[in-house]
Amino acid sequence: MDLAHTAEEEEFRRELRAWLDATLPGLPSKPSPDDWPARRAYDCAWQRALYDAGYAGLHWPADAGGGGALPGKHLIFLEETERAGAPYVGANFVGLLHAGPTIATEGTAAQRARWLPPILRGEEVWCQGFSEPDAGSDLASLRTRAVRDGDAYVVTGGKIWTSHAEVADWCELLVRTGPPDSGRRGLTWLALRMDAPGVTVRPLRTLAGSAEFAEVFLDGVRVPLSHRVGAENDGWRVTMVTLSHERGTAFAGETVACRRTLVELARAARDNGRWDDPVLRRRLGRLNAEFGALWRLVQWNTSEAEAALRAGGDGVPGVGASVFKLRYSHARQELYDAAADVLGPFSLDAAHEWTTGRLTSLAYTIAAGTSQIQQNIIAERVLGLPKGR
């Protein structure tokens, strides 16, 4: 049992840190949250900088153009970029963490050659078209239909909760190719060009007042057969590869960020006198323990994934990912509730970043598998309890 990194990893850390120190001061200032094209440009420029420095797709397999790094090294990357305050993955999230790894694992040589390099270079942005209004947690019931017509699928239906849809070039799309009642056995994974005729994007306003998501309407959109990844009706399996990645180290950086926010809460409380309330103080102390533990769980999950990879497995995050998601999403909400206590009446000021943070934290127990679903997964897949009814 060992938390120390290898000498080679520490060397990697030192080089990365030096590069970040040299590079970050030269970055342009962050764009406004409402300016989506500017956000895309900013995120893609950062991705290009990573690419030029050899840090793009660190965790991708080397034969997909990535760094072939083991999870431990990737974790150092996440730690150091967060620690230095580097930009987030932003608009490149789906490409780098969902669609890209899926194509790398399941795509043909031609598909990999077409789609992967532009992701790594920050040239093409992907979005995700899985959820539908009537199929949120229950992907097996989705209804967007694809019918073969010559060398293409004709796709009709709609997707929801799609981030960055307005500025994306591609969408990883899950469609029904089997009969309506075919459940998870009738789904297919397609790459959709967002500028194809029949694609309409409508922004979706969240309770925080911002348009973080969009609805995507698909009206007879033609998708070439060559844009299918995996076999027809095998999309569920293909997708699960993607979803497992989503539940893996995706939140590692956020955990570090939460811990930083917690420190800021403590300082603000000290400055405004709320620190004198032991009820609040002890609550902050307990949150310190919780985020510390969540960080240890990230390290534990990383070790497990690395061991699985070394043993020739696929390094897909296992048990720990659901446990992490369950506790992290709750802890994040507790953190921002505590922030409201620190702020007192100023918690009612929506311009305060902690108030925005409190509002967006509400999505965490819902998005990417609700807490209820996570508990089902833990009970049935981890603990082996009989299938719930």
Binding site: M1, H5, A266, L284, N288, Q299, A307, Q375, G388
Partner: protein, 348 residues
Amino acid sequence: MDFRPSHDQRALIAGMRTLLAARFPREKLRESIDVKVLEGALDRSLWRELGTCGFFSLRLAEKDGGAGLGLTEAVLLFEEAGRHLLPGPLVATHLAAGLIPGAADGETVVTALEGPGMVEHLSVADVVLVLDGDRLRALEVTDGHGPGALPGRPVRSVDPTTPLRHVGKMPGCAQALPVVGAGGGGCAGGDTARLRREASLLTAAQQLGSAGRTLDMAVSHAKNRRQFGRPIGAFQAVQHLCAQMLARTELARVSVYAASLTATENDIDGARLLADEAAVRNARDCLQLHGGMGFTWEADVHLHLKRAWLRRTQWQPAEGAEEALARALLAPSGELPDGIANHSNDAG
């Protein structure tokens, strides 16, 4: 970085399990509590066997008769002890190895007085380790008589596996036993803070083991017990209860293991909070899930709950840990989780 237990560590765990299965099976546990005595006798032969297996000495250097192992290995063994509800002043005797003659090999049973309050197994212990501020000393237990006697009032312990006496005030320093490495007069200074930290961590390790055990009991019951025509584990309410139990256990596990590697005050305080909560709440949930049967004396689940309640009061209770962890947020280097700093891996 490989956070998982190593091959050697897994072997150590397996060895402890084998020992406990052979020498402290469930019947032994039940026997020890079903004999209705105010202060139970300790199984001295089992204690010696623990000594022989290195349970107390494993962190001593090889030249001193130990195995030269670290806090992590101790934590793994204490987790097993907690899982099996092994009785006795395990933490105090472990800490006394190398300080009190006979503790390391299980000949001397050592309990501890960490301040005015309850002392476990006082009447069967040979020696009491007294932590008084930053002074460390030892007293011989002389059955209520003699100079070293502690004025302990017997208490009907809520935990039937742990007899307690209440000691209202700290004894004087005069009649202390020699403590190895201590200065004149049997009073040693300085390392009581470390002893307290280690005691808290080893307590957390036992809480972790208990939490894991009640989780296993709950899952097994949920699979086998049928109500309304199906196993109760098919009910979502039961599933979610068990899922939360697992989450508590795993968060406590990684915290305790990490704290055993870093041995920092913050990590230990955090691990204690999570392990205490996991032990108490898992036992509560396990009891609830067992329904009426969980409320009986015959079921083991109440033993876990009661011991978890007891352990929670020992060595740095929650209030202090929470305050310390809050203060740590205001420290200059507080911005990042400890695990991200380039800390040494050494438990020293």
